[in-house]
Symmetry: C2
Subunit: 210 residues, 2 copies
DNA sequence: ATAAGTAGTGAATCATTATTCATTCTTTGT
DNA sequence: ACAAAGAATGAATAATGATTCACTACTTAT
């Protein structure tokens, strides 16, 4: 026999795959999924278009994976905010703020994840993504109900509403039409927009204005 | 000279245009914008594909117009619910219920208007559509604040959150993946899903659980 | 060095639809 | 009836990009 896949080769392939994903991510963060054509991704990753198909079954599969990765990054941040010590209500508020702040910090990617028109396969991922957020919130709300810091309610429904309220509030400002209108260089974490979103959400949850 | 456009001709043209719009509407209500190809629309309207371009500059223009019309129908219903006599809070609740009930009644159209991936031109209309709803709610909220039945708040922001919360709550049930899961033949107006959405929304607005 | 197997290449192909436009058909005024 | 103008037609074209695949280049084991 002759050639047998070796560790070195496996690494090299993994590296190419990684680079393709990274470049796709970059394209999306720069101009949305729309701007991420195979040709451009290939050029950016320094491979031929055909090579991409050795690593991914189709463009949609590649997109779905990139979407998942981007999503995971965001969801993890929110999960982190929810996992701290302390009062459920405060943690929820921090988590909501994290969500909104991060979106405004990386508006193109956020828009792609939340609202850009995408192919059905990717849209499926989007539904999962939103469910993932909702589930985090849902869990926290349940805890809150348990410990009586949040009034009894349909936790699942409320969490869905939270996600919707934030997403909707962000769609306008994130829209490509508004590109540049919001300064992404904002180092300050206190956007009044975010404050009023959170105000509504917390009241929806707790019935208490703050 | 000879031919000069006459009333009869004007009517005939208007009728063709109307039919094209109606057929497009039908296609969308049946299978979303995705399923509304020019060929199919033309066949359904009993005209040649080229004829469509005598009435509309492009497919996107046609879609945008159909979107506007479909939208207007929905928005009007909500506006109607808001225009009745009586307490602002009650009217808002009725309006929210109207929104959700109608969506569940015509799930494919609702999904197309709220969440189906569409071309940029149509997406623009969608943003307007959501703003239109929000503005109706915003106005009502202002009235409520005025008459002290609703606590003081950022009416614009709250209204956006309302739209988001409802839309998000509906996206799951309306998704084509869920097609048929919800019986559209529901003659009864009391879907528990709708109740819990509204419960969250009203509390977000008024701080009062009901 | 050689052979066998695998990865990479990218121009060519395919697929999908919207759109065009040369031609035909209708309407209208004389 | 005829000519002028417009409307309708729909097969052909265009445009966009994803995907393929015959070929080349590289890796490995002997």
């Amino acid at each position: 026999m002759a050639y047998r896949e070796t560790e070195k080769m496996r690494n090299r392939k993994a590296e190419a795959r990684r680079r393709i994903i990274e470049c796709t991510y970059g394209c999306v963060a720069g101009g949305g999924f729309r701007s991420a054509q195979i040709t451009r991704i290939a050029a950016c990753a320094g491979v031929a278009t055909g090579t991409i198909y050795r690593h991914f079954e189709s463009k949609e599969h590649l997109f779905a994976e990139v979407f998942r990765i981007a999503t995971q990054r965001e969801v993890d941040k929110v999960a982190e905010a929810l996992a701290t010590e302390g009062n459920v209500v405060t943690r929820l508020e921090t988590a909501l703020r994290q969500f909104a702040d991060r979106a405004l910090r990386g508006p193109v990617m956020a828009w792609s994840l939340i609202a850009e028109p995408v192919d059905p396969k990717v849209e499926e991922e989007r539904l999962k993504f939103r469910r993932a957020y909702a589930q985090l919130f849902e869990q926290a709300i349940r805890e809150g109900i348990e410990e009586d810091s949040v009034p009894d309610q349909d936790a699942r429904q409320s969490s869905t509403c939270l996600v919707g309220a934030i997403a909707e509030s962000l769609v306008g400002p994130l829209s490509p039409a508004q590109a540049g209108a919001t300064e992404p260089a904002e180092t300050n974490d206190h956007d009044p927009l975010v404050d009023s979103i959170i105000c509504f959400c917390m009241q929806g949850l707790t019935g208490t204005r703050r």
